[in-house]
Amino acid sequence: MNESVITTNKLTKQFGDFIAANELSFEVNKGEIFGFLGANGAGKTTAMRMLCGLLVPSSGTATVAGYDVYKHREKIKQNIGYMSQKFSLYEDLTVSENIKFYAGIYGLSDSLIKEKSEQLIHQLDLRKEENQLVSSLPLGWRQKLAFSVAVIHDPKIVFLDEPTGGVDPVTRRQFWDLIYDAAHRGITVFVTTHYMDEAEYCNRISIMVDGVIEALDTPANLKKNYSSKSMDEVFRQLARNAKRSE
């Protein structure tokens, strides 16, 4: 169980004088749901983008799915899924066209694409909307679809950058069911969020303040260590001292 799929050691990203992510060192284990918390501007997205191969680190080391973030970015990309806070599906394509496109560019065979999209449309209950443009779907549905598309090629790790922003609580709950489902299939989930109730769903969480990881543990341990009743309190205690904000 303790096989790690992400390992970072003093991973740093500097933009000019500004240190967005400062000497991050952590490990994420296989099959884990790893929550990545922090106030706006704390450096979460920067850290995630380095791990996805979208951003070259300034210093430090990191491996993702066994590949080095400096040397093997393209290898990493074959083994991860990614869903950003920006909407990542093509709104002018239909539900099934989006599924087939992303499945296709990840190199799935025609028969597998067919099988997967059947399965996905069934699971998300989108049979009626299958041939509708994505732009006509409500936001919550789109986000669920975007997540399912991000894991359609069964990646080792999926990175989710504030996936449930602006989504209603019921749909958020359904979204987390999808996340659990993916974790059961052995996909490691690396997720950033602002919602403290979602933090409770994670196996382990790290809390970033001003580019530094201030705390990293299971939700239960964190609450105990900071003698708080909820994650919300833990977060407030840590984020109170933050100097950066937007």
């Binding site: 191969g53 296709g104 560019i105």
Partner: protein
């Protein structure tokens, strides 16, 4: 190859689903090709002429009707004196004043000579110059008629005259449209190619889907080919439709081998799409891409030899024109379509455009980053 297939499928679906854009790509250029050549014409016509006729004789009437029948002038007014005529120029109602002095006929008959006065509003220099030239020509002709009729042939010393007989090759009727249509078609294809390609990629940046593409294993080359091929095909279609229109509406049938034009076009489109691609790598919003493309399009238009001959441009402008891919295609079009030139004649142009294609695309590929 499979990746390309999926990329092309996606791209064509998006293009054909966006009806407004599709109309802009396919039909707007044809509309322009239908309208512009009729208007983009150098012939100076409808020159407003004010005639101050102080003589009111048969001869002055004969001169005026000769001017009118030339078809280039509109007899705007017959003011009583020069100052009235000058007012017409000030009010922009007349372009040229012709003053016929009193006793025009008498002096002409008695002394055998008479002066006329022409004044032109030279704000529009071309109109003034061409107008006075026409007028001068008509008066000279009138002059020689007068000589023929009045002078007794025996008394007249036979004057040696040099008469010029010219024939206009390749465009015998000096039809301006025939000269303009191939050039305008080149411009339209250029605009469709570079702008549409740039805008398309930048749109993906704006929506954020490009980030999604960047975390997939799609290689740079595949992504770029996925963008280039659809617009290359569209460019070919637009050009073909334009050629058909040029034939139907303007009766322009290419004299040379049409395959030669298409060979050149296929390389040219790669160059122009490469430029669009390059612009997209430097822009992060559609607005930026639009402004930058517009900058290039304006230079392409005015420094391409489409409207004004490159040979008469100042040296620095000639240098820019020689770095302008549009220049080469317009030349090739005029050579092959109007003159019937062969491969040998355009091989230099093809070579230059090939270099453009390589530079633009290599630069764009280098500058396109999946990782920042």
């Amino acid at each position: 190859m499979r990746t390309i297939r999926f990329l092309l499928q996606k791209e064509f679906r998006q293009i054909f689903r966006n009806k407004t854009l599709l109309r802009a790509i396919l039909f707007a250029p044809l509309m322009q090709l239908m309208l512009l050549p009729w208007a983009a014409n150098y012939e100076v016509k409808n020159i407003a002429l004010a005639v101050v006729d102080n003589d009111h004789s048969i001869e002055s009437q004969r001169l005026i009707s000769k001017i009118y029948s030339s078809g280039y002038f509109i007899l705007k007014a017959f003011p009583a004196d020069y100052s009235h005529a000058y007012n017409l120029i000030e009010e922009d109602k007349a372009d040229i004043i012709l003053e016929i002095p009193s006793h025009f006929e008498r002096n002409l008959v008695r002394d055998g000579k008479q002066k006329l006065y022409i004044a032109a509003n030279a704000i529009n220099g071309t109109k003034a110059l061409v107008g006075t030239n026409y007028l001068g020509g008509i008066i000279a002709e009138y002059n020689s008629t007068v000589r023929m009729v009045w002078l007794e042939p025996g008394k007249m010393n036979p004057q040696p005259t040099v008469e010029i007989v010219s024939s206009n090759w390749y465009n015998p009727l000096m039809n301006y449209k025939i000269f303009m249509v191939p050039g305008i078609l080149v411009l339209l294809v250029t605009m469709v190619g570079s702008m549409m390609c740039a805008m398309n990629i930048v749109k993906e940046k704006e929506i954020g889907t490009i980030e999604q593409i960047n975390v997939t294993p799609i290689s740079k080359i595949h992504f770029i080919l996925g963008k280039l091929i659809p617009f290359w095909i569209l460019g070919m279609i637009v050009f073909t439709m334009g050629l058909i229109l040029a034939r139907v509406v303007y009766g322009i049938i290419p004299l040379g081998n049409i395959l030669l034009v298409y060979t050149f076009l296929s390389v040219y489109l790669i160059a122009i799409l490469g430029l669009g691609l390059l612009i997209s790598t430097y822009s992060s919003t559609q607005q930026q891409a639009m402004s930058v493309s517009f900058f290039f399009i304006m230079i392409f238009n005015l420094l391409s030899g489409l409207f004004t001959p490159i040979e008469s441009m100042p040296g620095w402008a000639q240098v820019i024109a020689s770095l302008n891919p549009v220049t080469y295609f317009i030349e090739v079009m005029r050579m092959v379509v109007l003159k019937g030139s062969s491969f040998h004649n355009i091989s230099h142009h093809l070579g230059v455009i090939l270099i453009f294609a390589l530079i633009f695309n290599a630069w764009a590929i280098l500058n396109y980053r999946k990782t920042s």
